[in-house]
Symmetry: C2
Subunit: 702 residues, 2 copies
C-alpha cells in the first residue's frame, strides 16, 4: 500500500499508511497473527477481498477505534500494538489484568454457567440457563478484553481458550442469523418484541458481540465472531427491523449497538451499518415510549433533541459514544451541537472529581444538576469507562485537550478504583466516602467482589486496561499527538508514512517530568502536539533543552519543527499537592476540600489516621504556605507502591460520635487539635481491611 | 359506672371513668352518635353486650388509641371529641381538612375507580379493576379520616356518603370472611400465598380496614365495618393462618396489621388479637425470607432482635407502632428494650430536623446512619406520620417528653408540609431542598399533586389532622398531661371521674405564651403535667401568677396542688429565632445551619430573596448578637398567615452558577456582600409558584 489514497464515493479509502509487513514481523508477539486467520472458521467475506485489494486498512493497523477513514475525525488512532507500555505506573495494572483478572474472570464466567448457556443449546451441557437476559454480553466483553490484551503480546493458551469459546458461541447461531442464549424455548416468541426490546438487551448483546469480535479480529485477523455478528445483522435484523414500511421498529433499550455498528462499518466498509446506527439514534416514531423510559434508556427520541444527561448513566454514556461515532462519519452538525451541550452538562454539573458519573443508585442514574453525593455515589465502573470512551471520541472529533483531561481523570481515578490491586475483585459502585459499618444489606457486605450476577463492570475494566496503549497517541494530518504519559515506546508512523518511534521516560503520575525522544525514520517537518494537563498550571516544555513558550494548562502545545532522529522533548509538570473545592451547589462538598496530586485524586482511609481519629472529625488545614503543610513520600511497599501524602492537619476536639443529631449553633467555632493526617490515591482504596474512606474533607483556615 | 374497677383476669376491665350520658348529649354535634348505631347493618356482637354491661369502655370514650385498660400505659388517651380546637394555628388546617381535603379526596377515589372496585364484584359496576393491589386501603384510610373528623362535629352529608361506602364495602365480603377487591377472579388462587403475603398487602389492607372501622365506630357507634373486619379475622385468617400446625404462616409484607389487631382488642376485649399480633411481630420460622426482604419489610425475624432502623421507612415505623402497642398490653421487657434501641437510632442518626424519616427514594427507605440528604430526601409524608404515631405510643408507655418533642417536630414540619394550604394537593416526598428546574421526569414535574396512584399519603394526612385533638392531652392515675399547645377547650375528667375542663389561650406556635385555665368540677388534688418543649431553654411557668420552679426543656413539669376552679397556669416559652447545626456526620449539612422558631423549622424560598440571589449563594450571619440579626413579622396575608423571618445575611459575591465544578482552593475565603434574606415556615413551602427552597444554608461568622 502506498500513501495518500483518494477518498472514494464510499468514503472508505484509507488515508493512513499501514506499517510494512516487515516491521510487523519484527514484533515476535504478533507474528502469529499476521496472514491467515488463525481459526479458519470464517469464510472469506467481501471486505476481506477489499483488505487484500488495499482499499481498506488491514486489521492489524486498526486502533481502539478505526478512524483512518472517518471524514470528521481530526485525530486518528494508532493500534494498540504500536505502543508498548514499559515498567511504570500502568505496567503493574496491565500485568495484573492479563495474568490475573482476565484468567480469573474466565473461571468465574464458566462457574456461573455463562458458557454452558451456549453449550446447552447444542446438547453439550445439561445445565439450566444461568444469569440475567444480558449474560451473553459478559462473554463478549471478556472476549474483547482478550482481543485488546493479545495485541500487546501473544498468550497462546488464552488465545486457544478464546478460540474455543468463539467456536462454541457461533455454533448456536440459527440459520436466520439469530444468536442469543436467553431467548430460547418458551422465550422464542418474545424475540425482539417491543417490550423485550426495552428490557431484554438483545441489541445490547449483539453490540458487545460485535465489539468483542472486532477487538479479536484486530488482534488475530480471525473474523469468525464478526462474521456471526454480521450474519445476525444482515439476515435477521436488517431485513426485519428498521425504518421501512415492511420493517418493525428498533428500540435501543440499552444503547450499545450504535457505536458497535459504526465500528463494524469502519472495519468492513459496509455503510448500511452507519445508516442503521443513525436510524436507532434518531428513534422510531412508531415506537412510542413512556417518558420515563425515554429518560432512563436514553433513547426513543432523536438524540439531537437531548439537552441534558439523565437516566441510566451507562446507557447515556454509550448513547453519547454512538452519537459521536455517528458524527465522526457523517459530520451532522446537529449531533456535534448536542454532544457539546451534553458535554457541558457532564463537566459542569454531573461528573465526580474522580471522573465517575451516575450519582444515584436508583436507576443507576444521573441525578439532578450538581447532585453528587459521596457515600451514596453510584459511580458505576462501567459508567466511568463509558465516560472515557465518549471523551476519546470527542477528542478524535476535535483535537481538544479538555476531553483528554476527562479521560485522564476517569482513568486514574474512577476507573482504576474499579479493580482491586490484585485484579480479582471489582467495585461495581465507586463511592467517594464509605463506612463499612453502615454499608447495608441492600448492597451486600463488600464493596469489592469477585463476581456480580450482573457482571458488566469486571470485563469492562479488563477491556479498558487491555486497550490502554491505544489511548496514548493519535496522528493527525500534520503530525502526532501525545495524550497520556508513562514509560512507553511508540512504534508507528506519521500519516504520510514516515516511520516514527517515540520513547517516553517518566515517573508520571508520581512525578511530573517526562522525557520524550523522537526518532522519525528520517528528519521531517511535522507538528508534535504535547498535552499540558488541565491541573498543571506551571508546565514547562523544552526541545533539546530549549524552552518552548506557550504551554497552557488544558491545551495541546503544538511544536512544529523539522524533527530529527534523537530530538528530545522534555515536559515538566510541577506536581504538588493541590486542594480542590467543588461548586457550592454540590451540597455534600460544602466547606470541604479534596486533595489531588497531578492526575491523582487522594482519599483518607480510617485505618491510616493516628489515634483512630474519625474521618468525620478531621480537618484539612488551609494556610498561606500551603505546600509546607504536606509531605509526600513514595512508599514502594504500600498498596503496590504509591506516593503517600502526609498532612499536618487538625481534628475537632469533640468527636461527632458524641454529639446529638441537632444542636443549637454555638457563637464560637468548635475547638480543634492538631492531627497528623495520611492520604492515599483514591484508586487504591479498599485494598486492605475494611475501613472508612473519604475524598472530601472539612477544612480550617490557619 | 363507678370508679376503680378491678382488673379482671382478662385484663380488660376499665380503669377509666366514662363521661355521663348527659355531658355527651350536651354536645349537639355528637348527639346523633349516641344510642343505636346509625346504620343498623351490624348485628350485635358480644363486645357490645360487654359495653352495655359496663365491662369495657363505651366507644365514645375511646381516644386515638384506647389505652384505658392497657396495663403498661402510664398515660391514657382522651377522646378526640373531648378537645375542641378553637381559632388559632391548627383551626385553619382542620377546617381545610374537613371542608376541602376529605371531600375532594372522596371525588378522587371515585374518579380513580377505588369504589367501583367494590361495586364491580356485586354487579353494580362494569369498570375494570383499578389501582395497585393495596388500593382498598385508600378507602379505609379515608374512612378513618372521616371517623376522626366526625368526632369534632357531625357532617350529615359526609356521614351519609361514608355509610353508603361502608355498605358497599361489606357487601362484597364472602361467606368465609374474605374481603379484598384485588384478589378476585384469576387471582383467587393467589390469596395469602407466601409470595403474595410478601408483596400483596392483604393483611395491610385488612389492618387499614380495622383502623378505619374503629375510628368510624368511635365516631358513630356503628360497628358495621368493624364486624366485617372481625369476620375476616375470625372466619378466614385465624382458622387458617398462624402458628399452629394446621395453620399456614403469616408474613407481614407491609406491617400495619399488628397495631390494628391490638387496637381491635382494645375495642372489643378479644385477646386473641393481641396473641395474633405477637405472633406476627415475632415472625414465623417456617416462612424463611431473603435477608433483603427482612430488611425491606421490617418483618420476618423477631422484632426483639432488631438493632437499627432500616428498610422501607413506613413499614419500619408501622412495625414499631405495633410493637409498642404490643408492649403496652403485655409489658414484655424485650420489646421495650428493642423499642428504645430503635428510638435512639431514630433520634440520633435517622431523623430529619423536620421529623421526616426515610432518606432514600430507592426502596423508600432508611439509609446508612446519618444519611440525611436534603434535595434527595424522601421523607414520605406517611413515614413522618408513622413517626408521630410511634412516638405517641412511646409517650403513652413512658410519660417522657422526649417522645412528645418528636411528635411536635414531625407534626408542625414534616407532616404539615405534606398537605397544601388549600388542602387539595399533597407531597408524597418532603425534601429539605428543592429546585424545580432539576426535578426530573422520574418523579413527575410537581412536588405537590392532587392524586398519586399510590395514594397512601393524602388520606393518611387527613386522618392525622382529623384525629389531632386526641393528641393534646393524656390522663394518668395521678392527673393530667398537656402535650400540645393551641387555643382549645378540653372537656374531660380525671381518672377518678372528676370532670375537668381546661381552656388554652395562646398564640402558639408564633408566640410562646400559653394561658391554661383549669376548671375541675370541684377543687381537687392532682398533678398537672405541663410539657416544656425541648427547644425552650428558658421556659417560665406560673400558677395564678406565682412562679413554679423546675421547668426544664424536654421535660414535663409536674405541678401537684389542690387545684381549684379558675386556677390559671401561665407558660412562657421565649420564642426566638434559633440557629441549629447538624451532627458533622450528616455530610450534606456540613457548615450549614437551619433556622427554627419554636417548634417551627424555617426554610428559604428563592422567590422571596431580593435580586434573585440563588439559595446556593446565601449565607446566614452568625454573630455574637444573634437575636438582632433577625426580625420577625406576622404577615396575615402571606401563606394564610405566617411569621416571616427576615435576616441581615450575606451572599457570595461570585455566584455559584458562574463557577466551575472543581476549582483550586483559594488561600483567601470567598468574598461576600450583605444580603437581606427572607424565611418562611417549612410547612408552607411550595404553595406559590414553583421556586427553589432550602432548609440548611451556609453561614459566616461575623
Amino acid at each position: 500500500m502506498g500513501s495518500d489514497h483518494d477518498v472514494s464515493r464510499r468514503r472508505f479509502l484509507s488515508t493512513a499508511v499501514t506499517s510494512t509487513a516487515a516491521s510487523l514481523l519484527a514484533r515476535p508477539a504478533l507474528s502469529f497473527a499476521f496472514g491467515e486467520p488463525a481459526l479458519g472458521l470464517g469464510k472469506a467475506v467481501s471486505f476481506e477481498t477489499e483488505v487484500a485489494a488495499g482499499s481498506i486498512s488491514p486489521w492489524q493497523d486498526q486502533g481502539v477505534l478505526n478512524l483512518a477513514n472517518s471524514p470528521y475525525a481530526k485525530l486518528h488512532t494508532v493500534p494498540v500494538r504500536a505502543v508498548t507500555i514499559e515498567e511504570g505506573f500502568w505496567s503493574k495494572r496491565r500485568k495484573t489484568n492479563i495474568e490475573s483478572s482476565i484468567p480469573s474472570m474466565r473461571v468465574e464466567l464458566e462457574d456461573h454457567g455463562r458458557m454452558d448457556n451456549f453449550r446447552r443449546l447444542v446438547g453439550k451441557s445439561s445445565a439450566p440457563q444461568k444469569g440475567p437476559y444480558y449474560s451473553d454480553s459478559d462473554i463478549y466483553k471478556w472476549t474483547e478484553a482478550v482481543g485488546w490484551a493479545l495485541q500487546s503480546g501473544d498468550r497462546p493458551e488464552l488465545r486457544s481458550v478464546t478460540d474455543s469459546m468463539i467456536r462454541e458461541v457461533v455454533a448456536i447461531q440459527e440459520p436466520n442469523g439469530y444468536l442469543n442464549t436467553y431467548y430460547q424455548n418458551d422465550r422464542v416468541p418474545l424475540r425482539m418484541q417491543p417490550h423485550e426490546q426495552e428490557v431484554g438487551h438483545e441489541m445490547y448483546c449483539l453490540g458487545h458481540m460485535l465489539q468483542g469480535a472486532i477487538a479479536y479480529y484486530r488482534a488475530t485477523g480471525d473474523p469468525t465472531l464478526m462474521n456471526a455478528g454480521m450474519k445476525f445483522l444482515d439476515n435477521f435484523v436488517i431485513p426485519n427491523y428498521g425504518p421501512g414500511a415492511n420493517q418493525k421498529p428498533i428500540i435501543s433499550g440499552h444503547p450499545e449497538i450504535e457505536m458497535s455498528l459504526i465500528e463494524l462499518y469502519r472495519t468492513t466498509g459496509k455503510h448500511q451499518y452507519v445508516d442503521l446506527a443513525g436510524y436507532i439514534l434518531h428513534g422510531d416514531e412508531r415506537a412510542t415510549l413512556q417518558p420515563r423510559a425515554i429518560v432512563y434508556m436514553f433513547c426513543g427520541i432523536p438524540f439531537t433533541t437531548r439537552t441534558k444527561l439523565e437516566g441510566h448513566a451507562v446507557r447515556a454514556m454509550y448513547a453519547c459514544c454512538g452519537a459521536t461515532d455517528y458524527y465522526l462519519e457523517t459530520g451532522d452538525p446537529a449531533y456535534w451541537k448536542t454532544l457539546n451541550v451534553l458535554w457541558e452538562d457532564l463537566s459542569k454539573r454531573q461528573m465526580y472529581i474522580t471522573g465517575g458519573v451516575g450519582a444515584r443508585a436508583q436507576g443507576e442514574a444521573f441525578g439532578e444538576p450538581y447532585e453528587l453525593p459521596n457515600a451514596q455515589a453510584y459511580g458505576e465502573s462501567c459508567a466511568a469507562i463509558g465516560n472515557m470512551m465518549w471523551n476519546w471520541r470527542m477528542l478524535a472529533a476535535s483535537g481538544e485537550a479538555r476531553f483528554t483531561d476527562v479521560i485522564e481523570r476517569a482513568l486514574y481515578n474512577g476507573i482504576n478504583s474499579g479493580m482491586s490491586l490484585d485484579g480479582t475483585t471489582y467495585c461495581y459502585r465507586n463511592p467517594l466516602a464509605f463506612d463499612p459499618a453502615g454499608y447495608d444489606q441492600f448492597r451486600g457486605p463488600n464493596i469489592r467482589n469477585p463476581w456480580y450476577d450482573t457482571t458488566c463492570c469486571p470485563p469492562n475494566l479488563e477491556r479498558t486496561f487491555g486497550s490502554l496503549p491505544g489511548y496514548f497517541y493519535s496522528t493527525s494530518k500534520d503530525g502526532m499527538y501525545v495524550h497520556l504519559y508513562d514509560n512507553s515506546v511508540l512504534d508507528w508512523h506519521l500519516e504520510d508514512g514516515t516511520p516514527l518511534k517515540i520513547q517516553q521516560k517518566t515517573n508520571y503520575p508520581w512525578g511530573g517530568d517526562v522525557k520524550l525522544t523522537l526518532n522519525p525514520a528520517q528528519a521531517k517537518d511535522f507538528t508534535f502536539y504535547v498535552r499540558i494537563p488541565g491541573w498543571s498550571a506551571n508546565a514547562r516544555v523544552a526541545v533539546n533543552g530549549r524552552t518552548v513558550e506557550g504551554a497552557q494548562a488544558g491545551q495541546y502545545l503544538p511544536i512544529q519543527r523539522h524533527w530529527k532522529p534523537g530530538d528530545v522533548v522534555t515536559l515538566s509538570f510541577p506536581i504538588t499537592t493541590q486542594l480542590v473545592a467543588a461548586n457550592p451547589r454540590v451540597s455534600e462538598d460544602t466547606a470541604r476540600v479534596a486533595v489531588s496530586r497531578g492526575p491523582m485524586i487522594y482519599c483518607m482511609e480510617g485505618l491510616d489516621q493516628e489515634n483512630g481519629t474519625a474521618l468525620s472529625d478531621v480537618l484539612i488545614r488551609i494556610s498561606a504556605q500551603e505546600g509546607k503543610e504536606f509531605q509526600n513520600e513514595y512508599d514502594a511497599k504500600l498498596l503496590e507502591g504509591v506516593v503517600v501524602v502526609h498532612h499536618n492537619g487538625a481534628a475537632h476536639e469533640t468527636s461527632s460520635a458524641d454529639e446529638g443529631l441537632y444542636t443549637p449553633v454555638s457563637s464560637t467555632p468548635q475547638k480543634s487539635r492538631p492531627a497528623k493526617l495520611t492520604m492515599i490515591p483514591y484508586y487504591a482504596w479498599a485494598n486492605r481491611q475494611p475501613t472508612t474512606m473519604q475524598v472530601w474533607s472539612r477544612y480550617i483556615r490557619s
